[in-house]
């Protein structure tokens, strides 16, 4: 069973790189950070400052740092969004072919199960490591090129999540694993065709 879930996890996981290369046939790995000059952002801050009754309050919410932190949080929240992995972001955000599905939808269960329920001895290390990587790649505007670094972590989450699910309820997990297998094969067939 362990071998089966390992193969299934890897199979489910192939979708990410396949979709990635399909969406980005010409890879541009040149980093674009959030620290680029933003003239419009500065102008907006200057305009907003005039709306406040005093300069202290204005400086609290309208300062140059806000331009950078806003971009950082934009990236960070994008990476934290489950839609980013399972649907290529929200249906209304399909832009320029970069919104590709990274994982089959059904893997959401083992991933969330691992994140919130599973008591694994290395869970804290995994979470700490993935958090550091997420915090780093959020500095890049083109983070969708670098999110590949999260790839092995998700593989582990799926694997350990499935493993834990099997321990708790074998029947449910077997049915679920076959459903996941069917979905993965469908996605792969869809990709190849």
């Amino acid at each position: 069973m362990k071998n089966f879930i390992l193969i299934l996890s890897i199979l489910a996981f192939i979708i990410w790189p396949l979709n990635f290369f399909r969406a980005n046939p010409q890879l541009n790995l040149e980093p674009q950070t959030i620290f680029v000059q933003d003239y419009q952002g500065r102008q907006l801050i200057l305009r907003n400052i005039n709306l406040y009754p005093n300069v202290y309050l204005a400086r609290l919410f309208q300062n140059k740092a806000v331009i950078v932190t806003n971009k950082y949080f934009n990236n960070l929240f994008n990476i934290l969004d489950l839609n980013y992995y399972f649907f290529g972001s929200h249906p209304r955000e399909v832009v320029g072919g970069l919104n590709y599905t990274r994982l089959p939808l059904l893997t959401i269960l083992p991933i969330l199960w691992f994140l919130f329920i599973t008591q694994h001895p290395k869970k804290k290390t995994f979470l700490l490591s993935i958090s550091i990587f997420i915090l780093i790649i959020s500095f890049f505007i083109n983070h969708y090129v670098y999110d590949f670094i999260l790839w092995p972590f998700f593989l582990l989450f799926i694997f350990y999540g499935l493993e834990d699910l099997i321990k708790i309820n074998l029947n449910f997990s077997t049915i679920f694993s076959f459903c996941l297998l069917i979905e993965t094969i469908y996605e792969l067939a869809h990709l190849i065709s």
């Binding site: 406040y52 929240f77 934290l80 969004d81 399972f86 929200h90 249906p91 919130f116 329920i117």
Partner: protein, 530 residues
Amino acid sequence: MKKYIFPFGLCLAIVLGFFLRFYKFGSAPAGLYLDEAGQGFSAFSILKTGKDEFGMPFPAAFRSFNDFKTPIYIYLIVPFIPIFGLNTFSIRFPSLLFSIFSLPLFYFLILKLTDNSTKSKWLALTATVFLAISPWHILFGRTNFECNVALLFLLLAYYLFQLAIEKPIYLVFSSIFFSIALPAYHSERIIVPLIVLFLFIKHFKFLISTPYIKYSILSLFLALLISIPTIQIIRTPGFLARVSTLSIFSSNNSWGIKEWPALYLSYLSPRYLFWLGDSGPRSSFPGLSVFYLWQLPLYIHGLYLLLNKKKFPKLKNFILLILIVAPIPASLTRDPFSTIRALPLVIPIILICSISAIYLLEKFRNQWVKFALILSLLLYSILKLYSSGYLLNEYYRASYWDYGWEQVANVINHELDPNLPIVVDNARNEPYSQLLVFVKADPAKYQADNFEVNNQNYYTFMGRNTTKNIGRITTRGINWTQDKKIDQYLIGDSLAISEEQIKNDNLLLIKQINYPDGSPAYRIVRTRRK
């Protein structure tokens, strides 16, 4: 002394909540959106004539533009018009009232779902404070949105059901409020039946037990009785108008079941809850999401605690139930993250954050550090709300709130020649409902002058007249070839009446009303100079 901490804390939370909702209430957001104005005049018409502006006596759903409005909020406005007059304040007042009432109700509901211990009281107090400062709850508590009223009825019904577990008579009251919540807002048409179904399955044994059975039957009877007006129109095009235009499964939408999980997930996504918020300009504040950024770690940690700790099982059930059910109706519509349709979601997410906050605060040994931290976060949140909700919102969002029609009506009432006709352009917006409110039109005369549909076809005929007559005011598109030949006033936005048009046609600019950012909102001109 210690026993007064919680009542005192609750009072403080209510005062804070009241202050944040009442500050500049009625004047911020500046303007009165057409749906708000439409509901306000419907209420005024019911008060004066017993019929809505289309001549229908006490409708079960109010005809309005291209859809139908839920009735509860409109009937709630009626008693406040004689007190405060027909104005923005009275139209938004039920929302304010119900928003404030939600705070103590939320506190007592949490106590009921927990064990009444000191820890549960701290949890209830924290959650109430979070609700009091919640941008999501405040926004809908300051403006005319039915969802806020529906949420209170929903919470009240759930609370009464919890009381019914001890005293069966409360089952009757619970069913009454569930039945009122059902037609109070479109989302509740899905949420309420799902919650009732859950409660019925979970408590089936005691609901059919000897002491409860007569109350269960009475509750069912009353629920059906209250729902009769809704049931009667349930299959009409009017009742289904919202579904047919907004649903992802409707024929005019290219989305379907494949997109639904993505839409559903967005309602639980930290990205939307703590960063992006609602993209609708009237259902969000600029630069502020529906929760504060500092609440994000609490949400993630709280979710972990909720799923792993076994304390307060009733509360856990309640949180998970609302968390799962609340996004369903909103996710069936095509909008990215509709906070109006998913308002009940504010309750479980605040509870999740509160569970984490209580857990983390227990870790602090030093009371002063704890106090300073709480005070700093509260102060920051209030200032952020002031910045986004009152300063930026007023400046950037005035046009979305249809700012300017009150000023236009003042000019009509006091500065224009009362013998000349007025044409108000409606090419891009429908200002007739705002004009009805601000010129305080006589509902009986308006009904007589503007026949649109007879009572038999009220819920089925979906056509509408775009030309409206309000005394000497007519709202329609300006026909420049014809209209400039007649001595009359023309009113329109800066596109309808441009500066070039005024110059070329030798029009007399009577008044220009500007938005708070200085850009022109509306122009009032006279076609032929004397």
